[in-house]
Each structure stands twice: as C-alpha cells, then as structure tokens.
Amino acid sequence: MIPTLADTATTIQSQLEGWELSESWAMFLAAVIHVALVAGFFGLPAGIFIWSERKISGRIQDRLGPTRVGGKFGWLQALADGGKLIQKEDLVPADADGPLFRLAPYVVVVSSLAALMFLPFSDGWIAVSLDIGLYLMLAVMSLEVIGVILAGYASGSKWALFGGMREAAQMVSYEIPMSICVVIPVITAGSLNLNEIAAMQSGWAANWILFNDPFTFAAFFIYFVCATASCKRAPFDLAEAESELVAGFLTEYSGFRWSLFFLAEYASMFAVCGIAVLLFLGGWHTGIPGLDTLLDGPRYASDSFVFGWLANLLGFTVFFVKASLLVCVQIWIRWTLPRLRIDQVMMTCLKYLVPISCVLFLGAVVWPLVTLSFTGHTTWGSPTGNRAAPTMRLESHGNSSTPTKITPLAASHSSEDSDQ
C-alpha cells in the first residue's frame, strides 16, 4: 500500500515511541509535527502570492512592481510587508466590542487553516484522509464568514458593519451554486474522497473530469467564479470596497490582526483553487501518462521512506503549479475587471449562477445514461486509466492487479481494454 500521511503519522509516532517516549507524548509530538507542516503551508503560498500579486498587478498597470527588496525582482517583498505590519500599533477602537474584535481574525485564520488539513497535496500527502474529505473541507471553509461578520460588528463602525453584512449576504448566496458545482464532479467520480477523485483522473488529460462531458466543463467555470466570490476577491470584493466603505470590515484593523485576515484570504484562495485542481484538473497528474509514470517512479524504486517522499514531492510540485496558475488567474481577474455593485453581485448569483448550476447538475446526472446507450460506457471517449473500469478499490499504481469490476455494463466493455 502507498503510505498516506496518516500512515506516516503512525510511523512518526512509533518512531518516537521507539525513542522511549510514552505513547501520549509521541502522539502529541507527531500531531505537532503535522500541524507545523500544515501551518507552514498556510504561510508559504501567502508569501508567494502576495509577491506575485504585486508583480502581476504592476505589469498589468504598466509598472514594474517591487524591484528592490531581495534582489532584482523583489523576492522578499512579502517578508518586508510582514515586518512592516508587525511593527504597527495594535489598535482597538474605543467603540469596539473588545474581546470579539480581538477574536475575529483568529476565527478566520483557524477556519482557512483547518480547511488545508483535508486537502491532499500529493498522492500520499494529506493531513486527515476521510471519506467525506470534500464535504468537511467545504463545511470548515464556510465558517470563515463568521469571523468577517464578527469583525464587522465588533469594530463599532458603520463602514465595518456594512462590509460585514455585505460579506454575509454574498457568502450565503454564493455557497449555493458553488456547492452544486462541487457536487457535479463528485457524482461523476462517485466519491467524496478528494484522494480518490484525483486518482481517478490519471492517464491522458482527456481523462480529467473537466473534459468528461460539456456539463463538467461548464461547471468548472461556474465553480471558479463562485470560488473567487467566496474568497471576496475582486470583482466580488464588496466587503472591503474602498471606494464606498473605506475598507469595509477591515476599516478598524491594523498591524498583525489586519495581516492575519490577508494571510487567511491568500490561504483560502489556494484552498479553493486546490479543490478546483483536484476536482476538475487531474490533481497531481500531469495529463501525460508517461510523465506520470516517470514522476511516480521513485515510489517503486525502493521501499525506502525517502523514495516515497520524493515521489510525493514531485506530485506535490505538479499540484502546486496547477493551483498557483489558477490563483494567478484570480489575480489577473482582480486587476482587470472593475468591482460590481452589490445588487449586481446578488443578481449574478441568484438569477444566473444558481439556475445555470442547477441545469448543469441535471445534465451531468443524465449524461452517463445518454453515453451508455451510444458508446456502451459512461464516458464519451474510450477511457484510459482507472476510468476504463470502475474499481472497487482504486489501485492507481502498478499494472499488476486486475481491477475488480462492479458494474456489469462497464465490465462487459472493459474486457477488450484489458486485452490490449
């Protein structure tokens, strides 16, 4: 079996127990190591994306962007920003509800940090692997808005309150089409486990759920719009519309607490883009079977932990590049499109995105039945990889095992595939 991070946890734990630590201490230390890894991953993309946002927005506006901090390209700009923000005074306005005002940034950070625990970064790299990983991840990410509303309310300022209420209205409405669009790849793949959904899309890029049928293709774009809105990124950044609301719910915040909101925003941008990559764009697969085998090679070169780690690192690189490209698209959209009005935001969601996503959902449900009557299997083309035969237990690696067929229709067809 391929070791997952959960398995590694038990090995780290057993390793620590081997060093004559008691069981609870070993479990505690293993948990600390995992939390530190996820927390590191909470900060790392934020640093990269803050730099790239500055650089990309500069280029879009015909500027150079940061050029001085840390060499020619301003690599260290994000660190310099962080240093500046930490030095600022931590203000709590006199009218504010003190405890809630101080707590609100942490609610936002905790929810977007906890969401990363259910995101598989590579085949074996996931902090908590669950059957309902996607469901849980969306549930945790939806809690982020509580922090924003608390921040808006507790600031004791009208601008902040308006910003918080706008965010609440926007979040509650955009979650509906977003969830429906997430369900479409789930019914296509037949699993809520992000690991299984990604493993199902091995082989050529035509195997990606994005190209499974026209409905999933459209669902990806609807999902991406809703995901951009759920991260309150422009053109949906009504909660912090600086031309009308000073800075919305962020008006009264400064220094470290203010930067926590932005760290969480970049982390959740990465999280929603990561979900998009896993659900639609093949996860950690490159879309070229030969290259995938090559990248996955170290896993089979040796039983050593290091080789499996190397294969995971390569898979992680593919995943990270894909997700980062999507984040760059979000940045590109932000600096290209003007901000919508609040009524336009609500109308876009309720009058267009919800009906479109409902139609796409129905279409995606009917599609396998239509293709089944024409081609004999549930996809339009001749599927390769795992999709050729739905397997009971997805064994994506190695040609040794014959997959267990569960649907008789697929079984009758895939017999000719396995002969090749």
């Binding site: 609870s24 505690f28 809630l100 692997s129 309902i132 469901y135 549930a139 209420m165 609440a168």
Partner: protein, 200 residues
C-alpha cells in the same frame, strides 16, 4: 490518555459555551458563544469517529447559527451593543424548564448501565486504524443496506427499505417551504393583476 484530555477540552468548551449563551447579555456575544458550544460538540463527534455527523454539525448547526448572528446584528443595529434584559418571571420560568429538561436527561443517563454498553471501538473499529469509513455505513443504510452486511448478501428489499423515501419527502417538504417563503416575501407590485391568479 490523549483522547481523555481532548474529550475534557471539548466537553468544557461545549458546556462553557452553553453557559455563556445564558449568562452573556450582548446578542452577538451570545451567538458566538453558541458557535463555540456547537463547534466543540462537533469536536466530540470527531473524537468518537463519527466524521459525517461532525461535518454535518459544523455545516448545519454552526452555519445555521451564522444566520442567527446576522439577524442579531440586524436587530441590534438601532443601538450599538444592545443588551437583552429579562424580567424575573421569565428567568424563573426559563430556569424551571431548564431544570426539568436537565433532570430528564440526567435520569436517562444514570439509568443506563454503561459497563454493559460496548465501547464505540468495538462497534465501529478504532478511528486511528480506519480512515473515516463511518459515512459509508450511513450512506448504505440510507438505501437500505445494513452496515454489518456485505452487499447483496441478504438480498432483496424485503425488510430493508432504507430511509431514502422519508429523506426525499422531507427534502420536498423543505422545498415547498422555501417556495412558500419566497412567495410571501416577494415584492408586491401590481396588486390589481395579482388578484386574478388566485381564482385560477
């Protein structure tokens, strides 16, 4: 040991949050305290290995409290941080209802012989060994396959009808409520033409 520690942390947070809902006077702080209480209950479900119930607890209850929070903010918008004051009669009545409910629950808990009840580990397997398969059992039960049987072993649909039909009926009922709410809350214009469809 670790599990015990975590249990106590979550239990204290859940209980403390519940007490906070009663004691605090600012409606938004009360809502936040309710979020802490419900979120800790989700944590307790996770400790018991019931991932699906925990996730639903987060999505439905904690998310539902969010709407409460929004209404709290909207209703208290007339004056900042408005306090909720209760009369002595209301306090007494609330305390009486609370005590009655507590005694019912306490009586039920104390009347169970907990030594005889098998641990959840024996029922569902240790959560550290299995990677969250508890939702599969719920899903299979929904369509009428008991968790402890292999697929098709007992065969037929005779006694195992599942909960799919009740589930769908409840869903349709909720949809009807939604449509009705939208109908009642819609902007009422052109009242003269509105009267006609009622006869039709």
């Amino acid at each position: 040991m670790t599990e015990q520690t975590l249990f106590w942390i979550f239990a204290i947070l859940a209980g403390g949050g519940a007490i906070g809902v009663v004691i605090l006077q600012d409606i938004v702080r009360m809502a936040f305290s309710l979020i802490i209480s419900l979120g800790s209950t989700a944590g307790l479900f996770f400790l018991l290995g019931a991932d699906f119930v925990a996730a639903t607890q987060l999505l439905v209850y904690v998310g539902g409290t969010l709407v409460l929070l929004i209404f709290g903010v909207m209703l208290t918008a007339s004056g900042p941080f408005r306090r909720i004051r209760m009369s002595t009669g209301e306090t007494l009545l609330g305390a009486a209802v609370g005590l009655l409910f507590f005694s019912v629950i306490a009586f039920t808990v104390l009347s169970v012989n907990w030594q005889a009840v098998p641990s959840y580990r024996e029922v569902a397997g240790s959560p550290s060994k299995q990677t969250g398969n508890t939702s599969r059992a719920i899903g299979l039960r929904l369509v009428g396959i008991p968790a402890d049987s292999t697929i098709g072993l007992h065969g037929g649909r005779g006694s195992n009808t599942g909960y799919l039909l009740p589930f769908e009926i409840v869903s349709v009922h909720l949809l009807v409520v939604l449509v009705g709410a939208a109908y009642l809350a819609r902007a009422k214009r052109r009242e003269s033409t509105d009267a006609e469809p009622e006869d039709a």
